[in-house]
Each structure stands twice: as structure tokens, then as C-alpha cells.
């Protein structure tokens, strides 16, 4: 394998499409684009963005490796996928890339969250994914932030400052939002509502984590891992150290590029 080859990895998720350009074991460029129910177009946009970030053109790529839920539908005249990798494999490889001691990755995506356990070589040991009622955690946080007139980073920031103990129902995103709205209408401070919203997400993820033994070290990945407040609350809930990569939302794309190198 020629490690100086330049490979792109595209992680096509329910909500966002993430792309990286890698060579020689280094990430040269990153970009993401909202999937918008049109994976092929989003993949093109994200790829172009990553290439621009890397200062390269598509013709320099030795391969384009896709992963994510929509990995099979990215093909277009403008984009030829050379290999696909399952999300679980991509996550495992991507986690190892960021931390060689990683043996578990908790992937917090826009619609689905999962836990993947693997060995030092990146071979899968076990996988757990949320059940249907717990779908949409990322989408819920976006909605919750919007309902408070905040961006997601602002919601996260605000939540950090709350010591409130208001709870919302831990049933599904619908109940969580209904309860959050009710709290707002009761006049509860936005910071406390923000914290409760994060609390819903954390509790859901934590309960999935409890369904299988976590092998350390545990990496947190996915878009939601960009929230310091969320990761902090999750650490507390799980009582285990969480390794946080610099750009957690790119773990899958990196893993695809690493894994799928011809």
C-alpha cells in the first residue's frame, strides 16, 4: 500500500455529510455539508470543500471511500466511489486514528447513536445501536436550540452555566421537546431548559452504553460530541474517561479513508 497516495473519505450521514482528504497518515483537508435528503449532491459539496481545504483537485485522488448510512447512493457523474466501508468499521478505524489505545467508540450522530467495540487492529468486537424510539437525538438538539432561539453551540454554552434540576421525560424526542416547551412556558430559565435538553440526550446515550461493557479507552465521536457540555455530562453519567478527538464529527470519514485505502 502506497501511503503517500491521497485518498478521500466521505461519511454520508442522515443529517450531515463529512469529507476528509488524507495522505501519509495525515488529514490534509476537512469539510462538511448538510445532507438535505440528497446524499450525492451533499457528497460532492463536502468533497469539493475538503479538497479546497487541502489545496488539491479531485484528479489527484487515488480513491474515494464512502461510509455512513447513505454510502451506497453517492455515485454521480461528478463523483466515482472506489470503495465503501461500513459505518462501524469506519468508526473503529477513525477512533484508532485519533487514539491508538481506543477500544470503544460512542458515535453520536444526527439521527442514530451507536457504540462500537473493537480490538487494537480495528476488528469489530461488538456493536449496539439505539432502538427506534430513541432516534433523532441530534435532530432533537437542533430543534431544542432553535426553540430557545439559540445555535447548538450557544445551547451547549448556556447549559454549562445551569445548576437547575428541571427534568424532562426520557421517552423520545417528541416528549422531550414537549416537556422542554412546557418548561419554557412555565417561565423556567433558558439555561435550565438547555441543561434538561442535554440531559435527555445524555441519559439516552448513557443507557445504551450500559447495555454493553465499555472497553477503555472510550472515544466519543459524531457531531454531538462537539458540545463540551454534553461530553461533560456524559462523562459524569458513565463515570469513565472519555477521549475526545479534535474534530469528532470526522471520525467516520477518517476511518473510511484509512480503512479503504487500496
Amino acid at each position: 500500500m502506497d501511503r503517500s497516495q491521497i485518498v478521500a473519505g466521505i461519511d454520508s450521514g442522515h443529517v450531515d455529510t463529512k469529507a476528509v482528504v488524507m495522505s501519509g497518515g495525515k488529514v490534509l483537508g476537512y469539510a462538511s455539508a448538510p445532507t438535505r435528503l440528497d446524499p450525492a449532491t451533499a457528497a460532492g459539496t463536502a468533497l469539493n470543500g475538503a479538497l479546497a481545504d487541502a489545496g488539491m483537485s479531485q484528479s489527484e485522488l487515488a480513491g474515494i471511500v464512502s461510509t455512513g448510512i447513505f454510502r451506497d447512493v453517492l455515485e454521480s457523474p461528478a463523483l466515482h466511489v472506489t470503495a465503501t466501508v461500513s459505518e462501524h468499521m469506519a468508526d473503529a478505524r477513525g477512533a484508532l486514528f485519533s487514539n491508538q489505545k481506543a477500544r470503544t467508540v460512542v458515535d453520536l450522530g444526527g439521527n442514530v447513536h451507536k457504540i462500537i467495540r473493537f480490538d487494537g487492529a480495528g476488528n469489530l468486537v461488538d456493536v449496539a445501536q439505539n432502538d427506534k424510539c430513541a432516534d433523532g437525538l441530534g435532530i432533537f438538539l437542533s430543534t431544542a436550540a432553535h426553540s430557545l432561539g439559540l445555535s447548538e453551540p450557544e445551547l451547549s454554552e448556556l447549559a454549562l452555566g445551569s445548576t437547575g434540576s428541571h427534568a424532562i421525560a426520557i421517552q423520545c424526542s417528541l416528549s422531550a421537546q414537549t416537556d422542554a416547551t412546557d418548561l419554557v412556558c412555565q417561565g423556567i430559565a433558558a439555561a435550565d431548559v438547555a441543561r434538561a435538553a442535554l440531559g435527555y440526550v445524555v441519559e439516552r446515550v448513557a443507557s445504551l452504553c450500559r447495555s454493553m461493557p465499555l472497553a477503555e479507552e472510550v472515544v466519543v465521536a459524531g457531531g454531538l460530541a462537539q458540545s463540551a457540555a454534553l461530553v461533560g455530562q456524559l462523562r459524569t453519567a458513565l463515570g469513565v474517561h472519555l477521549s475526545l478527538p479534535e474534530r469528532p464529527q470526522y471520525v467516520g470519514a477518517i476511518g473510511a479513508a484509512v480503512r479503504g485505502q487500496p
Binding site: 432502538d131 427506534k132 424510539c133 430513541a134 427534568a167 424532562i168 421525560a169 426520557i170 421517552q171 423520545c172 416528549s175 414537549t178 416537556d179 412546557d182 412556558c185 412555565q186 435527555y200 441519559e203 439516552r204 448513557a206 443507557s207 445504551l208 450500559r210 447495555s211
Partner: protein
Amino acid sequence: MPPKTARAIIEYFRGVTEDPHAYARSLQQKGQRVAGYMCTHVPEEVLYAAGIVPVRIITAHTPQAISRSYIHETYCSFSHDCAYQGLEHKYDYLDLVVTASSCIHMSEAFNVWVRFAGFQTKSYLIPYPHIMQTKPARGFMVESFAEFKQFIESFAGRAITDADLEAAIGVYNRNRRLLKQLWDLLKLERPPISGPDLATVTLAAQVMDKAECNRLLEQLVHKLAGKQGRAPAGVRVMATGGACDHTGVLDLIERLSYPATLVFVDSCTAARYFWFEVPEGRPDKLDAIAEGYLSRIPCPAKDVVPGTGEKERFRFVQQFIEEYRPDAVVCLYQRFCSPQPMDVVALKPILEKLGIPSTDLELDTTIPLAQFGTQLEALLEITQRMAPGG
């Protein structure tokens, strides 16, 4: 120091509902054995006769997702909370946990305790007939109670005599009569106690040693005798439905922006718990207990007159409406409960015919105060025929 005033006694009961564990442990500290029960179909008298105090498992109102790995997402929140408390070892101190086969959600919460929460060797499930209004039901119950009695004798290491059972029946009937006496006070022109307070007292009774509970109830009856409270204000509201151990929901009814008075609560955690008696002085004690429990206001999970689809429970609901004269009815049920909402569908036409407006509140671990408040206030507006333009 025993509580002195009526208010102090009520607050003592409230304290028991807020920390049932502390209360149950205090019984154990006095050397008593304590058995948790998850369903009021359990013939508590059999336990009591063996010197074991039955304590109802009530919810902790904790939003959590742990139980979702053990019972299905779409099981009611009451069962999820009970399962959670078992898994988190909140009730490890219990000597025994007992339930009767009634609704599947609670049965599975019980199974979680048995399989995953360490109650394998200290649990008992009492098989109950699916439908109570059938000929074989009574015989089935007597046989089932007999097996239960044998298990308890072996568990407690002592025989349960007829005298033990008769004594237990006496204590329990006394409890039921005292509670009924207190709820009857709500029929007065100026009741000396409120509906929400009575609901709290009744909930506490389900968690307490009945002998002690009776002493306190007697004191409460004595202190309230001849006292006059305020006249019921505004709309008279009756609550009917399933298990509701969240006192905040009932309190809300009397804290709305229109005056309203909670005049009766027909629910699993209120009137249905005590609105019956076990016949006393019978030669066959287990048969007497079966007869008593068969005469209870039926739980919707077990209430279908075969072949007709009729619900015997509604006979009682109509009786309560006649006696307590509500102007409006609130139907309470746990989200994802099956039997209760089905009852509501059948009950609504009866209420409509009686000209009584109603609304449904779906209960969960959390209470959406703003939304519930709106539904309740809308009910009051409708009952008072509030119209634009005066």
C-alpha cells in the same frame, strides 16, 4: 412523638409518600419483615397474617432510560419507573416482592426484579383470573391464594392459622372503613379536609403498616369531627383512572386560575384501593378473601362482562357521580397504558349523556404543568359555560 393536629397527621402521611423507603426501613428496624407489592390485587391479608407488612411499590418520578434495555419502550411509565427502581437497587432491603397477574406492563416490571434485580429467591407471582366476572374466577382465586399461603408459611417459617387470617382481615377492613369515612367528609357542605390531602393520605396508607395507619387515621377522624372547612369553591371535579401517585397532578386541580374543588378520586391509588370489604367471621378465610377481592371496583385490565363488552366498573363510577356530584371529570391514565384509555372511550358517552364535561390527562414521569393546567382550565371554562362577550 405522635403527631398532634390534623394538619400534622396529614403532613406525616405526606412524608411517608415522599420517602417510602425510610418508612419501610423503619419497620424493619423494629424487627418486622416487609414485602413490596406491585398490584393491589395482591391479598395483603395473607401476608399480614404471617406477620409480614405489605408495602406498595410506588414510583420515584425519575426520568431515566435504564429500564428501556429491559422492558419495551412502549410500556407505561409506571412500570418503567418500578423496573428502574429494582435495577438501581432502591428496594434491595425488601424481604420479598409480590404481585398478581394483572396487566402485562406491571407483570414485566415484576419480572425485571426477579431476573435482573436479585429478587429471584424472594418473589412470588399470584396467578389471577384474566376476567373477574366469570364463574370459575372465585375457585381459581381460592386455589391460587392457597398456594400463596403455603409459600408464605414456608417463607416465614410459621403456620398461618385461621385466627391469624381473621385478625388480618379485621385490621384491613378497619383501614378500609376509616378511609371511606374520611372520603365521606367530602360530601359535607364544608369538608374539613381537601381532596388532594385525602389522596395523599390514601396513598400513604398503601405503603404503611395498617395497624399503625389505623391509629393515625382514627386520630385524624377524631380531629376532623365537627370541624368545618371552607365550602367547596367553583367547579366540582372528580378524577377517575389508573395509578396516579404524583400528588402534584391532583394538587394542580385546586391551583388553577379558576376555582375548582377536587371532590373525589376514583383511581387505582385512591378509592379503588379500599372501596370494598372482606366478609368477616366466615369458616373458609381464603374464600372470604376471594369474595372480598372479587367485590372490588374492577381494574380495567380485568373488567369485561363476558359476551356483552360491558364494564362493571362504570356502575361504581356512576354511583360516585351521584354521591359526590362532580360538575366535571378528569380522566387520568399513564401514557402507553392499554386498559385505562380503552375504558375512557367507553366512559365518555356515559359522561356526555349525564352532561358532564371531561378531559384526559396522560401521565408520565414528568408533569407538563403548563399543558395540564391549560386542559384543566379549559374544562373549567366549558363547565362554567364561559362565553365571549359575557
